[in-house]
Symmetry: C2
Subunit: 477 residues, 2 copies
């Protein structure tokens, strides 16, 4: 391909990709300069779209490992899987770094309405929840539209009851509905306990109508009683609302056997494509290896693991390596509090100034429609210019307000530039943290489009001669 | 409305329904004669589409009763609910007839792959299955595309193994894919046991990709060993296929605690709108009251209960009752072998000649797109002519090959004419017999369209002066 006429090649890419373009609304394809880097970037797209490697990786992880809750036996099996997989792909370096992670045992979760009508419920324990007493908890429920309503409630209304936070999650391509409702999951138990509740149940933080509950992390607070916390499926939450129209007194029986198991050892698993001329400078592309234990962790975050690994492998296989090192980080224990991400910046604190830019893929396998950055505002337009070849893959050039993804979200505060490759998350919260997070929810073509975008981003950034620092000071909210 | 200009009224109906028309492909609206019966039939459509009674009934049943497995305590609560509901609606007669039904205890169902990779599976016991031994069954699986393939297999391949029937159910508006795959559920255990298998597991008979297994009835055969039978969710069946690509030896661990509990008493619950001039002649519209126990029995068959009850109520409330009696039959124990339907024809054998026509609603709440009959071929065209007013509700006039629905399917063999009001079942088998069979899967507008169609059908047939008998002799298959 080296001697190929570049203009002809660019035309070929346009033709080959015209199908993809049509699938993206508001597509922006800009004129792409005939540079060598742009030619390589466009080659990477063609190779990515023609390869099934990304899908093979997520298939392998979900079939051969499956659920891999941080701190569990399966978590270690996942680490071994990742080491083997990265080694077998022939990266220049493969290693792991230990991380201390909280371990939690799910146990069983049972609930039913016992009055005014007996009805079994479909629930799941929230991650980190304590158990109920062995005999369970039976109490009337008190319903709130939102966490804020619970926080504002008269404690007399809540005392001795099970607080029910009924916040519906709105569907949106960006997933922004999640941010609005998830506080009820993470902080509901504290708010409920502060008002004297004996337990908290929430409408699942999800956009589906499946009779499956969405798990996810919840937190306790020192000095506030730890009460059990669970999520109901959407149809069960609807049923309680129907009952409340008939009777204010709804009695719920709840039995959880979950428990916290202290601290376990897990690992951030890392692979590198060594840079040709600036090997000490790092372009970090990450995803998290752990998953919740209800599904097989396909969209969260097997997809991300596959995307960044397959993207780096495309670069590993280039005849000429880019200037900087591409570092793939498969983070430990994201789900239980960004534990691997926090450990990474701690362990690499002295090296952070050599991190040129970082990005994480952790939003399923929906197509990437936009790339945002957080770089020095003075070079932002030039950075966008360098990424023009991403538009042929359906990726718009967005804004300079990126956070970079959960496990790299602490990096901008430490001066490290980041990018966010925005995925179509319209259906992400239908499956997120449920038994339905399985391989069949991944569209291989959309996954390959993600691989292409990450490969382009990583390659372009590894070659760039721009100085991306310092970042703009964060505006106070 | 009595003195309303009929032509104007017909025009009004057309205008009011134009929205509905657009929702149905291949709509056939024929010229409708200006008769009094047609005017009433069209009034019934308007009233049905303007009423939420059908939705209120299925909401009430699913919220106040929920799952109601034949022979269980909840089954009796459902019978009480039905008696109360039908009485409260003011039908001329409300009564129940006892039926002996098989009772079965679901217990728990657990399964996992133990080799080559440990993976938990989502399964459900098939209705009527025996338990495993207390310690469960651990055996290698042997996979078959279809029941027929299992039946044709060399017993040496099956002996001592768990037979896995992996038949995918095809999606179709008529639901015809179910008929092709369901044999594996009902007859798989016998076929597997005859070859020496220790258990049978099937890919769920469903069209979804949800991680939920579809239950449903299975049968044993005298003289053949009773082996445990369970269904896997589609993603779990997919996972096993992925493992089989890597390793022929897949070990499955299965533990069921289900058991048969002998015979219990249930009831067919019946309501009547007494005919004005031929009260002894009966137009039967039925549905089944029992449900599987995984969901709340909304689409199967709370919807049918709502549709036929609300339709009859519209006729009950007419200023002038039709000639014949409308009999609503809410059948017991359909799911476990059409038990209520068979009991009804036995108990009413002497009265069957007075059954003018019968139809059952048991296919969810999708819109009715066609009405088929099984009547004397000599009057078929006249029967269609009488039903022309159904076309304004989006219902095409179909063929003369109806079976009438599960609980009335034995009636044509006994000389009773039947009709099948064909519903759009495109997504019916996504939810059928799973925890996902809940109220939110019902579109209130589509339900009301069903109510309108059943009200028209029942009214027209209760007024008809045609002799629908004798039926055509059934052609040998």
């Amino acid at each position: 391909m080296k001697n190929y006429n570049k203009a002809l090649f660019a035309g070929m890419v346009f033709t080959a990709l015209s199908g993809c373009q049509n699938q993206t609304n508001d597509t922006q394809v800009t004129k792409i300069e005939n540079t060598k880097d742009n030619a390589v970037s466009q080659q990477l797209v063609l190779k990515a779209l023609d390869s099934s490697l990304g899908y093979e990786i997520v298939e392998s992880l979900t079939v051969e490992v499956g659920p891999r809750l941080a701190g569990s036996e399966k978590d270690i099996i996942a680490v071994e899987w990742a080491m083997d997989k990265l080694k077998s792909l022939g990266f220049d370096k493969v290693y792991k770094e230990s991380v201390q992670v909280p371990a939690w045992y799910r146990g069983s979760a049972k609930a039913s309405i016992t009055a005014p009508y007996e009805q079994p419920l479909v629930i799941t324990a929230l991650g980190g929840s304590v158990s109920t007493p062995e005999e369970g908890i039976q109490a009337n429920i008190v319903r709130f539209d939102t966490l804020a309503d619970l926080q504002a409630a008269d404690p007399e209304l809540v005392k001795g009851k099970i607080a029910f936070i009924d916040h519906k999650t709105e569907r949106h391509i960006s997933g922004k509905g999640y941010g609005k409702s998830v506080g009820g999951r993470s902080r509901g138990a504290v708010a409920a306990a502060e008002k004297g509740a004996v337990a908290v149940v929430i409408r699942s933080i999800g956009t589906d109508h499946d009779r499956m509950a969405h798990t996810g992390m919840m937190r306790y607070k020192d000095g506030v009683k730890k009460i059990p916390a669970a999520a109901l499926s959407a149809p069960d939450a609807d049923m309680i609302n129907s009952m409340l129209k008939r009777d204010d007194n709804i009695t719920l029986s709840l039995n959880l056997t979950s428990k916290n198991l202290g601290v376990a050892t897990s690992y951030n698993v890392i692979a590198e494509v060594t840079g040709s001329s600036k090997p000490e400078e790092i372009v970090l592309i990450g995803a998290h290896l752990d998953s919740w234990d209800e599904g097989t962790g396909a969209i969260d975050d097997g997809a991300g693991v596959a995307i960044v690994t397959a993207a780096a492998k495309l670069i590993q296989d280039l005849p000429q390596k880019p200037a900087r090192t591409i570092r793939v980080v498969l983070y430990a224990a994201e789900e239980v509090g960004l534990v691997g991400g926090k450990a990474y910046v701690k362990q690499h604190i002295d090296e952070l100034e050599k991190h040129y830019i970082a990005a994480e893929s952790d939003f399923g396998a929906g197509r990437i429609y936009q790339i945002d950055f957080n770089v020095n505002p003075n070079v932002f337009e030039q950075v966008q210019l360098e990424h023009q070849s991403m538009t042929i893959n359906g990726v718009k050039l967005g804004n300079n307000k990126a956070s970079g993804g959960p496990d790299v979200s602490m990096m901008p505060g430490l001066g490290v530039p980041v990018a966010s490759l925005r995925q179509d998350g319209t259906d992400y919260f239908d499956y997120h943290h449920t038994p339905n997070d399985t391989l069949d929810k991944i569209d291989p073509k959309a996954l390959a489009q993600n691989v292409a975008a990450y490969a382009q981003f990583a390659y372009i950034m590894a070659q760039s001669e721009l100085d991306l620092r310092p970042l703009a000071k964060k505006e106070p909210k």
